[in-house]
Symmetry: C2
């Protein structure tokens, strides 16, 4: 794993339906030649798009800012409806160290991008996870409490005051959360039921917040198009809460209601290592090393 510094950026935008808007934001990233645009995943129910790109620090910094600026132009939070928690057009912008770069460097990168968003776009900015300035801002869910609609009312209060930028919502773009964190696995499990209540109950059981798995965040949401309830999760440290652990725990909890798992999905990118533990578990592999995967030897 030699070579140049690589940072991943996974901005989440509050638009999952209008493809011309999504493409226009993506183009701001694609125009950088040394940035690899890795994935674009839109969900019409969540009305949300996750983009993933990778590159050296400098280009990723520029691409992230340009995409946020475009989203602020094209997305009006006053008109936005969607299942997923959100407070802004460019809702969350995390930077993740991938290679030859420290978490500290990613924190500084997040603060530089946040400063530009606050000053040049006049959007209030919160710093989260490793980039948080206060311990109570580490957790994204706490920052997004009450969503766009509630934050709009409370933003000037002492406990919700932004870390940078204006002390009021941007009239269209809302607010933005910028940060640095470890690689995260966005993992959703679809239940063979249309009962949202069951997904919500299961989410409670598996998430850290309510005494479940330490490194899991979870929500019960409804996929209206498929009439399916979903446990929507983030595994914030897959070395502690593995994909298979979460899957088996959700399966076990669903049994309580006589409900099966209909399927699951990984949103965006996943580090190979996060899949390895599941392969080892299900196939009972003894001593199976990541370096046994052929492709790991073909990397730059």
């Amino acid at each position: 794993m030699a070579g140049k510094k690589l940072v991943e950026c996974i901005p989440n935008f509050s638009e999952g339906r209008r493809s011309e808007v999504i493409e226009s934001i993506a183009d701001e990233i694609r125009k950088y030649r040394d940035v690899r645009f890795l994935d674009l995943s839109s969900d019409p129910d969540h009305n949300r798009t996750v983009m993933t790109f990778l590159g050296d620090e400098e280009e990723v910094e520029k691409a992230a800012f340009d995409a946020v600026a475009r989203a602020a132009e094209l997305i009006d939070m006053e008109a936005h409806r969607g299942e997923h928690p959100r407070i802004g057009a460019a809702d969350v912008i995390p930077f993740v160290p991938i290679r030859n770069i420290s978490m500290e460097e990613c924190v500084r990168l997040a603060h530089r991008v946040g400063k530009r968003i606050a000053e040049e776009l006049e959007i209030p900015v919160y710093y989260y996870e490793e980039a948080a300035l206060k311990p109570e801002r580490r957790n994204l869910a706490d920052i997004r409490k009450g969503n766009y609609e509630k934050l709009r009312e409370e933003i000037a209060s002492p406990e919700r005051r932004p870390d940078a930028g204006p002390q009021a919502m941007h009239p269209r773009a809302g607010a933005a959360v910028v940060g640095a964190r470890k690689p995260l696995v966005a993992f959703n499990i679809n239940l063979a039921t249309g009962e949202l209540r069951i997904a919500k109950e299961i989410a409670k059981r598996v998430r850290a917040k309510d005494g479940g798995l330490k490194c899991v965040k979870a929500l019960g949401v409804m996929l209206h198009e498929r009439n399916i309830a979903q446990v929507s999760m983030n595994l914030v440290d897959y070395s502690k809460s593995a994909i298979y652990t979460v899957f088996e725990m959700v399966r076990a909890e669903a049994r309580r209601y006589g409900v099966n798992i209909a399927g699951s999905e990984i949103i965006g990118l996943v580090p190979l290592e996060a899949l390895m533990e599941s392969a080892r578990y299900y196939l009972q592999l003894e001593d199976f090393k990541t370096s046994q995967v052929l492709e790991t030897h073909l990397m730059e």
Copy 2:
């Protein structure tokens, strides 16, 4: 996946115990600077070592020949004992197209290396799989029938005559099988029993030869050190017989005897795609693409 032509070579040597012999053979490969030595897996029970290396055609060709020459010097088949079928010191030498190279080119490569082994080392050579000159030589098991001991007696007979080289065994090194094939997954499942009979019965059920899975070769072998019976398999086309399919079939057959699976192992390298199907199956992943694995975007 741009870049230079890449061939993988996975020679199997009839020595899994004497580390100085194994290292001396490995050094013949490691001395080539543009060859990546990927894996070395020795099994004392099988008394066998599998080496895996990758590089451009020309260097892989030289490294393969040099390793075979060294094995012929250091391994005496007259003294060799081991569970695994074998007919020579350098028992099997397959070439596998990995990138920017066709199967046809790998077949020509196999024939060039085979010719040198036959002429310079005076070892009888058989060509197998895609490099076979006769249809009845495609299958490795047919060539190795009766092992070294039997082939020594029968080698001059019309049906067992080598494809190249002397029409008699090399007095120490035996014979060699050289070929070209698709990527193969060497997958062994350990049973929670010391009864070899059970492993043999299960092997029969799962392998193509006896009406099982089309792309699976299987043997029941004994791991004496652990007192465990093992179903030792090659998945010759993982796009047809996936790892999870084989695992679940062995599990189901073992149930017949009230036997559980104790563990499993993948020997050497495995293409990422071969693991993907198992991840999709066990985690019920809908529409999970290989390109969602972060590392696939970091390749040369």
